[in-house]
Structures are given as structure tokens and as C-alpha cells.
């Protein structure tokens, strides 16, 4: 991964984590604030409900008391105390009085517990009120009571009063329905609602859940909470998921409401809508995503700019370093800043400048050294023939003092010697000349084995000289060798030089081995001898022009070989140990692309 991408990733991750952390913190704070607010609102609503409950209870008590104190009821009580009731006289009495007193429920029960008149169930006259003890032990205040109706039952806020002194009182039982209207009278803050569950059966029944708004859907969702409260008879709070939408969720606080005998007859449910919280949370998340997105875009731009500021000089330095590696030592980079990168660029420039100077110095030094070596070699090569020439000429001068016959003989011998040495000098000069005029190879498709066999054939006679050292030439030519692109004449000369060196390395005889083989796209040639071998130092300097380990060499043979191999795009290496012979390995590419059509030529002509 590039530095630019790493920088971008770090920037983006930092921004993302920062925004996420801020969002989480804000969400947590918001949630706590909402929870506190919900608790306060619930407490206030419950208190309001209790006030309303008590107020309505007092109202019911007042109305029931007024009924009990009325003249008609007093007359009824007196009449009933004197004999069996005439139901026909009272059958509509309870209903009429209840309508006047705005009560939903009203019943007159005599001292035997018989219903004399009932507003909510007029047909129930003559039936027993059950249980009578509940009336006799009823509190003075209003209480929650289950009222039986012809088709069902409901809850009422009821009060009981006894009319008439003595042993046969008439009981007045009046009440008002705890219904939608009751709940609707509560002043609910926005986002809150009150539900009331009437515990009239053994199990949860949706129709017993009163919702003043009438918009309650899926009432079964609140059933577990109601059942828990009915079972434990304790307040409880739960988040109710009314639908799959989170905005419909509600925190519902359930409060059990007990009747006269402490049985839980109702459950008040105070719902706090989570919609504002969910909406706010959604807004926070949206804002966080917006800010996060914008920040990430900004981070990308900033990281791009910063990475550009940092990596562009680095990339320029890397490019310059590659140029230096390719040999362009004069490469310089632009110093665009005065910071560490600028110092690095300046140091690089100084380094390349120093390298260039040192290179020129080295070249100069090598050139001087080469000239010195050339001079030494020339002096050495030329000194060898000059010394016999000097001796021969001095011998001729001395021979003039001898007899003519002797002089003639000396002159003839000296002339022969002089000519031979002069020829030797010409040969030396010719080799130097040849080396300076090394031609460019003329590539053609050849078989390496053919060249090797030609060389072996050329030296066959020389190896068989009777006065020469006994050298055995062995050919190990690879089969199926692919043709290569090469100049057969130059290659022949190079191999010949290696063979000559091998023969020189085996003055006492030995084995000369010429081996070829195919290695992928390369053809390999090994020239091995079993001669004296070379030291590692000799191996390192072996291909230096004018270097020779022999007493009579010019030091140009292996230089010519390396030049030929290099011109063919190949490589030459040497492996040798003193006393164990030497092996030269030439590696030549097939490289048929170098083959030129007939009539074209490159480089110098031979």
C-alpha cells in the first residue's frame, strides 16, 4: 500500500472514529435526558390521574350521599322497612335518579341483600346482591368496583351509603364508569397517553383495554406487561414495540389499581412515545453521517494534499535514485521546501554531485592506470625483442673484427635473428592493432557445436606434435542444440584463444575438454583444462586488458574473448583452483532478433 493510501486510510479512520464517538456520546446523553424527562412526565401524569381519581371519587360520594339524603329515598327506605318490597313501584326509580344525579350505576339494596331497583340492570330486581358483606363493610370513600352488566362487566368508581336507622337499612350503591371519558379528562402532555386495563377476567382480553384515542393497534403487545403487573401487583415499566417501526415504540409504565378487597381490578398504563427520541436520534445520526461524510471527503482532500506535499518529493527522490542506478549520475531533484524533505533533496543532490566528481576522478585514475599498464606492457613486449636485436647488432659489430668467413656466418645468423625479432615486433604491434580494431559481430544463425568442432579440428595437428606436451582433447557436445545468433568468425577466434590459454596452462600435458549444452534460451560452452589453475586474485583480474599470468602473453587474449562474448549479449565466467585446472563458461543467448537480413550490416566492417 502506498504512503498516500496509508495516509488517506489513517485520515478517514480518524475522522470516522471521531464522528462515531461524538455521535455515541451525544446519543447517550440524549437517551439519559429523555429517560429523565419520561420519568418526570410519568410521575406527573400518575399524580394527575390519582388527583382526578380522588376528585371523581369525591364527586361520586357527594352524589350518592345526596341520593341517600333525598326525601324519595328516605320514603323508599321506610316503606321497605315495613314489609316486602313492591318492585313495580321502584323498578324505574334507580334509573331515573341515576340520570338526574349523572351516575352511570345506581342500585338500591334492602337489608336482606335483595336488589330493589337497578339503574344499570333494571331487570335484576328481586335478585340477591352478592356479596352483601361487601356493602356492609364498604369504606366511606369511593373505591374501585367491578360492576356486573347484562352482557358483560365493567369497572366503576363507586360509593355506598346506608339509608334509615335501625336494623333494616336501605343501601344506596352508586358509581361512575371508569371509561374513555374518564381517561379523556386527563390533560396529557404531547407524546403521552393513558390506557386503562379492566381486569375482569382470568386472562388478558384486548377489548378490556380502554384507549380514549381509539387508535390502539395490536393491544396484545402490551399483554405481557399487564399480566406481569397483575401477577406481581407492583408497578413495572417496559418498552412496548407496537409495530416494526421504532418510532412507534413506547415506554409504558404500568400501575396496578386495587379494589375494596385489595384485588387488582385495573391497571393504569402511562405511555411515553419514543417517537421524539427516535426522531432526534435519527437526526443526530443523519447529522453525524452528513458531517462524517463531509469530513471524510475533506480528509481525502487534505490527505491528498498532505500526501502530495510529502510523497511528491519522495517520489522525485525515488525516481532520481532509479536514474542514478541506471547510470545517470548527474540527476538532480528540485528542492521545494526548507523542511526535512527539502534537506533530504539537497543531500541527494550533494550525493549525486559527489558521486559524479568521484566517478570522473576514478575514470581519470583508471585511464592513467590503463595508460601506465599499456606503457608497461608495450615496454615489456618491445623490450623482449629489442634485447636480442641489441645483442645481435653488438655481435655483428664484434664480428667485423673476425674473418670475413666468420663474419659472413655471423652476419647470416644475425640477419636471420634480426628478421625474426623484427617479425616478432610486427606481430606484437599487429595484435595491439587488432585489439584496437575489434570489429562488430555479423550475426547469423549458427550451430555452436559446428564452431566448436572447427576449433578442435584446427588445433588437432598442433596437439599431436611429437615434441609438444601430451594433451588429450575431448569433445562433449550437447545433442539437439538450438541454433543461436552469432558471428562464427569472432566466436571461432574467442574459442581459439581459450583453447590456446588451456594449452598454455598444461605445459606438462593434460586434458582439454570442450563441452556444450542447452539451458533454456541459452547455449552454454565450457572450456576446461587440467592445468595449473589460477588463484582467486588472478581470476578477478583475468579479463583486464593487457593482464596476463603468462610470461610471454600480451594480456589481450581473454580481453578479446570477453569483448566478443559481450558483443553477443552473453556472459563469461571462470572457475579455477590452483592445481586443479580451470574452466571457462560462456553463456550465449539464442536471440534470433539480432539476425539481419542479407545486405545489411551494423557497426564497423571487418
Amino acid at each position: 500500500m502506498s504512503f498516500r493510501r496509508k495516509l488517506l486510510a489513517v485520515f478517514a479512520l480518524t475522522v470516522f472514529l471521531s464522528v462515531a464517538a461524538v455521535t455515541w456520546i451525544v446519543s447517550a446523553i440524549t437517551r439519559r435526558a429523555f429517560e429523565r424527562s419520561n420519568e418526570e412526565r410519568t410521575t406527573a401524569l400518575v399524580a394527575q390521574f390519582r388527583r382526578e381519581f380522588n376528585r371523581r371519587g369525591e364527586d361520586v360520594v357527594q352524589h350518592v350521599q345526596a341520593i341517600a339524603d333525598s326525601e324519595s329515598v328516605t320514603r323508599m327506605a321506610l316503606a321497605l322497612a315495613q314489609g316486602s318490597p313492591d318492585y313495580s313501584a321502584y323498578v324505574t326509580e334507580a334509573r331515573n335518579i341515576a340520570e338526574n344525579q349523572q351516575l352511570d350505576f345506581l342500585e338500591f339494596v334492602n337489608s336482606e341483600g335483595t336488589i330493589v331497583s337497578s339503574a344499570q340492570w333494571p331487570a335484576k330486581f328481586g335478585y340477591k346482591y352478592s356479596p352483601l358483606q361487601a356493602i356492609q363493610s364498604a369504606p366511606k370513600d369511593a373505591f374501585l368496583k367491578q360492576e356486573e352488566l347484562p352482557e358483560n362487566a365493567t369497572l366503576a368508581l363507586s360509593a355506598v351509603r346506608a339509608v334509615g336507622a335501625g336494623e333494616r337499612p336501605l343501601y344506596v350503591i352508586g358509581g361512575r364508569r371508569v371509561d374513555k371519558e374518564f381517561l379523556a379528562s386527563l390533560e396529557l402532555p404531547s407524546g403521552m397517553r393513558a390506557l386503562f386495563y379492566q381486569n375482569l377476567g382470568t386472562g388478558f382480553a384486548p377489548q378490556l383495554l380502554i384507549d380514549p384515542s381509539g387508535s390502539l393497534q395490536n393491544p396484545d403487545r402490551v399483554a405481557p406487561l399487564i399480566q406481569q403487573v397483575l401477577l406481581q401487583k407492583q408497578e413495572s415499566t417496559e418498552i412496548v414495540h407496537w409495530s416494526s417501526a421504532a418510532a412507534d415504540d413506547e415506554t409504558v409504565h404500568a400501575i396496578p389499581l386495587a379494589g375494596q378487597d385489595r384485588q387488582t381490578l385495573g391497571v393504569l398504563l402511562v405511555g411515553n412515545s419514543l417517537r421524539p427520541y427516535v426522531d432526534l436520534l435519527q437526526h443526530i445520526r443523519s447529522a453525524a453521517m452528513l458531517v462524517g461524510g463531509a469530513s471524510i471527503v475533506l480528509a481525502i482532500l487534505l490527505s491528498g494534499w498532505a500526501a502530495g506535499r510529502v510523497t511528491r518529493p519522495v517520489e522525485q527522490l525515488a525516481e532520481a535514485a532509479r536514474a542514478v542506478a541506471d547510470g545517470n549520475w548527474s540527476t538532480q531533484v528540485e528542492v521545494t521546501s526548507s523542511d526535512e524533505l527539502g534537506e533530504l533533496a539537497a543531500a541527494f543532490n550533494r550525493m549525486t554531485h559527489e558521486l559524479l566528481e568521484q566517478k570522473e576522478q576514478l575514470v581519470q585514475t583508471e585511464r592513467v592506470a590503463a595508460w601506465r599498464e599499456l606503457a608497461r606492457r608495450l615496454a615489456h613486449e618491445l623490450k623482449n625483442p629489442l634485447f636480442p636485436l641489441q645483442l645481435t647488432v653488438e655481435n655483428l659489430v664484434r664480428a667485423r673484427q673476425h674473418s670475413p668467413e666468420q663474419f659472413e656466418e655471423v652476419f647470416r645468423e644475425s640477419s636471420s635473428t634480426l628478421l625474426a625479432e623484427i617479425a616478432n615486433l610486427k606481430a606484437i604491434i599487429s595484435r595491439f592493432s587488432e585489439f584496437s580494431k575489434m570489429p562488430q559481430p555479423q550475426f547469423q544463425r549458427i550451430d555452436l557445436n559446428d564452431v566448436v568442432q572447427n576449433v578442435a579440428r584446427l588445433f588437432q595437428a598442433q596437439l599431436r606434435l611429437p615434441d609438444g606436451p601430451p594433451i588429450l582433447c575431448t569433445l562433449a557436445l550437447g545433442e539437439g542444440m538450438a541454433s543461436i545468433a552469432a558471428d562464427p568468425e569472432l566466436l571461432h577466434r574467442a574459442i581459439s584463444n581459450l583453447v590456446l590459454n588451456a594449452m598454455d596452462a598444461m605445459p606438462g600435458g593434460g586434458t582439454l575438454t570442450l563441452r556444450t549444452r542447452q539451458d533454456g534460451e541459452h547455449a552454454l560452452l565450457e572450456v576446461s583444462d587440467t592445468g595449473t589453475g589460477l588463484t582467486p586474485e588472478e581470476c578477478e583480474r583475468l579479463f583486464t586488458p593487457y593482464y596476463t599470468s603468462k610470461s610471454h602473453g600480451t594480456g589481450l587474449g581473454l580481453a578479446i574473448v570477453q569483448s566478443v562474448v559481450s558483443d553477443h549479449g552473453g556472459k563469461i565466467s571462470v572457475q579455477s583452483q590452483p592445481g586443479h585446472g580451470t574452466t571457462f563458461l560462456i553463456e550465449l543467448p539464442r536471440d534470433h532478433d539480432k539476425i539481419q537480413p542479407p545486405g545489411q550490416s551494423t557497426g564497423a566492417t571487418r
Binding site: Y87, S88, V91, W121, P122, A123, K124, F125, G126, Y127, P150, E151
Partner: protein, 455 residues
């Protein structure tokens, strides 16, 4: 002094006698204002909707006449038919038409018109007009055919497009269906001109609105619920009640499937406390009913038991292998039906039976009220059975015992449980004089005249 006082006394006595005589002697004129709860959309006597409406029958009698009317004993008397005769077998009847009768539009009362009217009311009859009579042929022998013709649905009407014309004592002056009907008396009525000049009938008024109208002097004749009659009278109003002419009963929607199926039905019948229903809920506005027809009509109704027998009811309930939960339907527009149904449900609960109240029509058991259709017992029983959806009664003879047997068979079918026979009651203003009702609670308005007393 005595000379002066004595003539003054004589003179004042004569004036007082004259005034008193004027106050009790019928006089012509005035408009009778009537308010009723029913709101009939049609006055056509052939309209089957009118069959079970006393108010509709009352109105029909003011505008239309029948060929025959029934007297208080249920005997056929001449009306538009002056006489009649039947061929042996009782399948073919000839009714001689009264002469000099005209319809309200002035057209002549002819056999053709009568035949057309009867055909419209009874499509299965074969009615042939003759010179001065009509001949009616029935599919089977009908011994009480004249009583059948006295039913309001067989009143003679001349239909002229959308207009209806009768021969009754009053003609239609203004008709707003379901709202108001104005009638004017006919001087040329064959039975004699009624005393009042006109009658205005306000329709669709609740009993409470009617009572308020009466108290405010806006109505002279209003209906009173039987359970309110006692109270209305106690409050000083003039209340007139008829004989019990309306049957309140429980009717099962299905026939009894098996004797086993009849046990819960019998248990229900034995659990009912009819006395409480009558004395408390209806404030004594009826009589206990164990039969379909009232005792005053048949004389044998007391033979049918009406008292509860809870122990036996519980036994039958325990004997029943399967005790169904019935739905009890009632007419929600009837102010007393709901509380009666609730009481029945309580009584049934005492016997271990369960009845669920329902205002829907498709209930297992329905609480129904049906008006006695005729003063003829046989025709009345047939009409009641048809009105309740029961199998038509089969009479083996014309005697009372045959009638009793037919009615007993209907009761024993356990499709119906009679509860009460209820009176019809009306409250009258003080100016209404000579008020009268037939035994079947139908008004005799032609005989009514209006006094001058202010309420």
C-alpha cells in the same frame, strides 16, 4: 225579595241545564290531532307491512271500508256487502254489494272495482264481478271466509296510478309518507258523516314526544306504552286501555329437531317468571299468557300454565344431554323489549340456561310482539301463527275444543313460548268525547266528537 229571587233561581237553573246539555251533546266540527309512533310509507291496505301495525290498521279503517266487519263477538256484519251467501262446501262465496256508495274521487262503487281490489290483496283468490255482487272462489273450504274479508288488508281500494281512493268516512287531503296525514270527513259517507271535520295524524313521534304534545295541547290522541299507562293515569291524564290484544312471546328460529332438543326449550319455558314481567316491567299492562290467544277471545286460555317451575326446569336442564347457548334477539326500538329480554335471561340463568342478548335479527330465540289480527278466534290463531312463522293450525271442526286442540298443538311444537297478552293504551285530551275502541283496540273515530274544554 222572594219575588225576585225565585225567578232568578228558575232562570239560572234553565241556563245551567242548557249549558250542561250543550256540553254532553255531540257536535260537528273541529280537527282531531293524533300522534303515533309508526311511520308507514304507504296507505295501501294490500301492503303486507301494515299487517302487524295497529296504527296502520286504524288509519286504514278511516279511509277504507271492508265488505264485512266483525262485531264485538267476532261475528261478521254487513259493511260494503249488504249480504252474502256460500255454496255448500264453503269454497265459493257471493257477496251482494251495497248500493249508493262512492269512492272519494266520486267514482262509482262497482263489482269490477271490488274484484280488482280483492285480487290485489289476495292474488290466489279467484274473484269474479257479477251484476251487483262479487263471487269469490277459494282453493279450499273456508268456513270463516266473511271474517277473513273483515281483515284490514282486504279493505276495498280503488287504485288509479299512484293514487288510492277508498270509501271510508274520511278522505285523504294531504299525505306525506311517514310524516303526516291529513284526512277530511265525508258528508256523503254511506255510514253517516263523522263528527270531526278533519284529522291530522303526525307520524314517527316517540312516545315521549307524543306525551309532551298531549301535555302542550298539540295532540288530542296519543299512544301510551303499556308500562307507562298506569303512571300516566296517576298523573291525571285520561288514559284508555283496550283488552289485551298484543301477544308477547319467545319464538325459536328453528323447529324442534328431537324430543331431546325440546328439554332445554321446556326448561326455558318453566323458568320464566311472567308475573314479574307483567307486574313490574309492564306495570300491570298485560296478562300472563300461556296461550297464543287471550282468554277474553277464547275462554280457555287459563288452561295453559303460566307459572314458573324452577325445580322442574333445572331437572330438564340436567336431563338434556346438550344445553345450547342461545342468542336472544329483541327489537331495539321497543323501549320495554330490552329489559324484558334481560329479565328472561336472568330467569333462564336461574335454571342453568344461558341466553346472550342480541339486537340482530338472526338470533336463536326472538322476543316478538304481534297484534291480534282479528276478533274471530280461528282467523286470529291462523294470523298469529303466520305472523310468528309457525306451521298453520289445523282445525278439525268449528267448535271451541277444536280451536283449543289446534292451539295446543302449536304450543306443544315448542317453537313458541307465550309470555304476555298486552293491552293497547291511549291518552286523550279533555276535548275528546265519546272515545271508543273495538275489542281489538281499533279506534272508533267516526263516533268521536270534540268538546270545548281546554286541557
Amino acid at each position: 225579595m222572594r219575588r225576585i229571587v225565585l225567578p232568578l233561581l228558575v232562570a239560572s237553573s234553565l241556563v245551567w241545564a242548557a249549558v250542561s246539555s250543550a256540553a254532553t251533546r255531540p257536535r260537528y266540527g273541529g280537527t282531531l290531532h293524533v300522534a303515533i309512533r309508526a311511520a308507514p310509507a304507504s296507505l295501501d291496505p294490500a301492503d303486507p307491512v301494515q299487517a302487524n301495525s295497529t296504527a296502520a290498521q286504524n288509519i286504514s279503517r278511516l279511509v277504507f271500508d271492508t265488505l264485512v266487519i266483525l262485531d264485538d263477538r267476532g261475528q261478521a256484519q254487513p259493511a260494503l256487502a249488504s249480504s252474502w251467501q256460500s255454496e255448500p262446501g264453503g269454497q265459493r262465496w257471493q257477496f251482494m254489494l251495497r248500493t249508493g256508495v262512492k269512492f272519494h274521487n266520486g267514482s262509482a262503487f262497482t263489482p269490477d272495482t271490488v274484484a280488482a281490489s280483492l285480487r290485489a290483496s289476495n292474488p290466489t283468490w279467484k274473484v269474479f264481478p257479477a251484476t251487483d255482487s262479487v263471487i269469490i272462489e277459494c282453493d279450499a273450504a273456508v268456513p270463516d271466509f266473511p271474517a277473513e274479508l273483515a281483515l284490514p288488508r282486504n279493505a276495498i281500494a280503488k287504485r288509479d296510478g299512484n293514487k288510492l281512493f277508498g270509501t271510508g268516512p274520511f278522505a285523504i287531503a294531504d299525505w306525506q309518507p311517514g310524516k303526516k296525514l291529513t284526512l277530511t270527513s265525508r258528508d256523503e259517507y254511506w255510514g253517516g258523516r263523522p263528527f270531526v271535520d278533519s284529522i291530522e295524524i303526525e307520524m314517527g313521534k316517540s312516545l315521549r314526544e307524543q306525551m309532551i304534545s298531549l301535555d302542550l295541547g298539540k295532540a288530542d290522541l296519543v299512544e301510551v306504552a303499556p308500562e307507562q299507562a298506569h303512571r300516566a293515569a296517576a298523573e291525571g291524564r285520561q288514559v284508555e286501555s283496550s283488552a289485551p290484544v298484543e301477544l308477547m312471546a319467545l319464538v325459536f328460529s328453528r323447529e324442534r329437531q328431537s324430543p331431546e332438543d325440546g328439554k332445554p326449550r321446556e326448561a326455558l319455558a318453566l323458568s320464566l317468571d311472567r308475573s314479574s314481567l307483567n307486574t313490574v316491567l309492564l306495570q300491570g299492562g298485560g296478562e300472563l299468557a300461556g296461550s297464543l290467544l287471550p282468554n277474553w277471545l277464547t275462554g280457555y286460555a287459563f288452561l295453559f300454565p303460566t307459572g314458573p317451575d324452577l325445580p322442574r326446569a333445572r331437572e330438564l336442564r340436567d336431563e338434556a344431554q346438550q344445553v345450547p347457548i342461545w342468542t336472544l334477539g329483541y327489537d331495539p326500538t321497543d323501549p320495554v323489549a330490552r329489559v324484558v329480554a334481560e329479565r328472561i335471561s336472568l330467569n333462564a340463568r336461574d335454571a342453568g340456561l344461558k341466553l346472550q342478548l342480541s339486537a340482530a335479527n338472526s338470533a336463536d330465540v326472538r322476543l316478538v310482539r304481534i297484534v291480534l289480527p282479528s276478533l274471530n278466534a280461528r282467523v286470529a290463531l291462523t294470523g298469529v301463527a303466520a305472523g310468528l312463522g309457525l306451521t298453520p293450525p289445523k282445525f278439525t271442526g268449528n267448535s271451541v275444543s277444536d280451536l283449543y286442540a289446534a292451539e295446543s298443538t302449536l304450543i306443544q311444537s315448542q317453537r313458541v313460548i307465550p309470555l304476555l297478552h298486552i293491552r293497547s293504551s291511549y291518552a286523550l285530551s279533555a276535548i275528546v268525547k265519546d272515545w271508543g275502541q273495538d275489542p281489538d283496540a281499533l279506534w272508533r273515530l267516526p263516533e268521536v266528537w270534540l268538546g270545548t274544554e281546554k286541557p
